[in-house]
Amino acid sequence: MFEWLSDNRGLIAAFLVLLALVSFVSSIVIGRKQSAIREKDEVFGDPERNKRGWYWAVCGVSALFLVWFYYSWGTARAFFPQAANELCQVAKLDEALSPINASLPATSRYYKSTTLVARNSEQLDALQIPTGSFSASEQPTAEALFDKVHRLLALQSDPQKLGPEARADLTAVADGLSALAQDLRNRDMSGLSPSAEALAQPSWGTTHIEIPLLPETARGVLFDEISAKATELAKSFSKIRNHPPEAELLIAEIRADIDGLKASAAPSAEQAEPRADFLKSFERIFKRLDDGTIFPAAALNGVEQSIADLEQASSKAQGGLTWLKATVFPGGSIVKSRTLCTEQGTGRWLPKPTDVVAQLAQLANPNLDAGGGFKGTTLLWWKWLPIADVVAFFVPDWIADIMPGEYARNNESGQVIPNFKDHVLALAQGDIYLGSIPMLDGHIWDSLFRVLVALVLGVVLGVPLGIMMGVSRFFKSFFDPLIELYRPVPPLAWAPLILTIFGIQDDGKIFLLFMVAFAIMVISARTGASGTQLSKIRASHSLGASVGQILRHVILPNAMPEILTGIRIAIGVCWGTLVAAEMLAGTTGVGFIENVARTVSDYELIWVTILIMGVLGLVFDMCMRWVIHKTIPWRGKG
């Protein structure tokens, strides 16, 4: 079943896209019709106007799905699965030409040679001979160095002086490129067929984000061949050096000058360092010029024209592919680098909906041996929890210490016979088997457990304190500064401290969340308690209620709406804090998954965790809304 779903991802995606499209259009039709009917009865601003309207919800959700499918290139994968493979072959040609293009203005606005000349001249102008570093006899040599380098630059930039070898090589590359362009234009593609190996490749998206590398279509085969030839041309282009004979002489001369200056010492000891620095800087500039990578701009004209020609031929040969690239691959394109073809742009960081579901299904698989779960823990499952562990959690070890008697010692026959005290210790340490109970397990449960424990503690301790603060001047004034001092500090500011003190296990996170929940519960319970109507308090006094009874039967129920709203807020804030805390430290939890996903740039996993957190947050909130609706139906009707 799962296999089938996974294999037919493209088909399912295509179906879902069509479904979303149909719902989008039909919901708009229904919505417009309904609006036309209702607008007759309701004036603008009537609160009735924004009630119901499921069709707009459908419209919004399907629009979201359509945008998601479109920008994640899910539509492209569903309807044009071969396009990516073809684009990959085109990308191969782009990659092959990139070393040549790097020397031309096509990618960086200037010729590479122009940039080099400009930079070197600039650095040369900034360099000055330190006064007194050279003796009177050396000084003219040093000053002449500048002029010589400028002459060298002129020689290398002069098309007339271009070395004969370089001239021939450049022409060869330009001719080769033109031949490729001709080839692209004239080749009959019907004669080309993909290899069996290429057809056996896993399809696009089956193995994460890679795109099959070998050409699967006739057009792809052509581009593949052309790009292989282009790679060779680019290699020979990179080897071309501009060495005019006169320049060679000049280079030897400059090098001899520098070596001569380096060999002799400075006139005085304190001038040694500035002299050495100057020579070093000068040599650094010179070394960039002596390898012949500067060409006269005009000399590259032939190559430039051939490349333009090739690119024109390429886009013509791509045919409908250019159109597809512009429409169904928005926000990026397929890029080839080294041995991989990858999606770059939105297709990469916005995973396809179907892939997200597949990833989620894999995470949710409770069978760890079959690759389910994450880092040795399931997403949400159950396990047998030994009761002894639970007992040991609540019974501290020192209970055994205060039991009467001594712990057992080894006797003369070399045996250790445990006594009562030892048995109590075993119980407190969870070493006695007491049976097991089924218990939830997994990353989601770990996160939930932390939030729930912290929330329960926060409510149990925070509500009574808050109510007392709401009714008693002492409690209010005594605790107000304490709580107001720690509450405004963002929980994440506390996190490093608390995780250091309590350790990275559950206790630290629970304490951190407890701090958050406690403050919120105190404040909401306090607001609820202090907002009790005086007449209700007076009425209960007149009915003979004691102070305790008024607290329990009047002030607490009266504060219920605020308390429940407080719980609702606390859940949300705790959830947010927890995920951040889990990102800081720990080995389980939803935040932990996202943190690992972040370090390996696994966009799909990041989106899956975001999805899980969103859905859980929504479920929490819906539960609380239901509880509020059930427990305080009088709210807003008093």
């Binding site: 007076r538 009425a539 007149s542 009915l543 003979g544 004691s546 039967h553 139906p633 009088w634 008093g638």
Partner: protein
């Protein structure tokens, strides 16, 4: 002898910001016999509510005493039931739980309490509304619940702070009859604060008109209308020329007081 006796009651409020003093009550003396029904009238700010709060025990007088049943009142107690203008019901409880609140606080036996609740709900005309949430009741019905909640506790005195002030005219008239019926049936001492002269005349066997600055008893009436209201329709009584005469007299009195206040300010 469950008489309500006020002796030399004075109440002075101090404004905590300005330190200025306001004499809300000055030398108030009265003696309300058991079973009497008293209505208190007066222009706003004459200390009616202060007087009631002192009797209820919510605030302590600056000097003087109020005694009930020969005991001087210190603090609120179940012997003085209160009915407020807005009902002050506990909206998280259904009608019957509101009514038996006092009994539950005293930990009365449950079956006994249930019988009492049923009896009083019948008496105030709310049979079958026991399980209804109070927020679903109309204003008049809420006030009936408040009456039942007070009566089920069997107080010696019932204190009402403008109990019918928030009701519409028709409901108000019905409730006035109900109050009179309850008075007759239970024989309780009742003290009603009101700002409606007509209501004060109809309900008050005795009537105090209070004057402001300092708040004091200005004039006392003994009226026959409450007694007559038990037998006749209230609308008939209102047509009585004697009724109209007293009403006009009191209205003029209060009007003059208001004028005087305005003049002073």
């Amino acid at each position: 002898m469950a008489d309500l006796i006020a002796t030399d009651l004075c109440m002075t409020f101090t404004n905590p910001q300005t330190g200025g003093k306001v004499e809300a009550l000055k030398d108030v003396n009265f003696h309300l016999k058991e079973g009497e029904i008293l209505s208190v009238l007066g222009p706003s700010g004459c200390g009616k509510t202060t007087l009631l709060n002192i009797v209820a025990g919510f605030i302590n007088p600056s000097s003087g005493t109020v005694a009930l049943d020969d005991h001087i009142i210190h603090g609120p107690g179940a012997d003085r039931g209160m009915v407020f203008q807005q009902g002050a019901l506990f909206e998280w409880l259904p009608v019957e739980k509101n009514v038996d609140f006092g009994l539950r606080m005293k930990k009365t036996d449950k079956t006994e309490a249930a019988a009492k609740v049923e009896h009083w709900l019948d008496t105030v005309g709310l049979q079958g509304f026991g399980k209804t949430p109070t927020y679903q009741l109309s204003g008049g019905m809420q006030q009936r619940v408040a009456l039942a909640r007070c009566l089920v506790n069997d107080p010696e005195v019932i204190l009402m702070d403008e109990p019918l002030g928030a009701l519409d005219a028709l409901t108000r008239e019905k409730m006035q009859s109900l109050v009179l019926e309850l008075w007759k049936e239970t024989g309780k001492t009742i003290m009603i604060i009101t700002h409606s002269v007509e209501e004060a005349l109809l309900l008050g066997e005795r009537l105090f008109v209070m004057a402001p600055r300092p708040g004091r008893l200005h004039k006392e009436y003994r009226l026959p209308f409450a007694e007559r209201g038990l037998k006749e329709s209230l609308r008939e009584i209102k047509k009585d020329p004697e009724f109209s005469r007293v009403r006009e007299e009191i209205l003029t009195m209060i009007w003059d007081m208001e004028e005087e206040i305005m003049g002073r300010v």
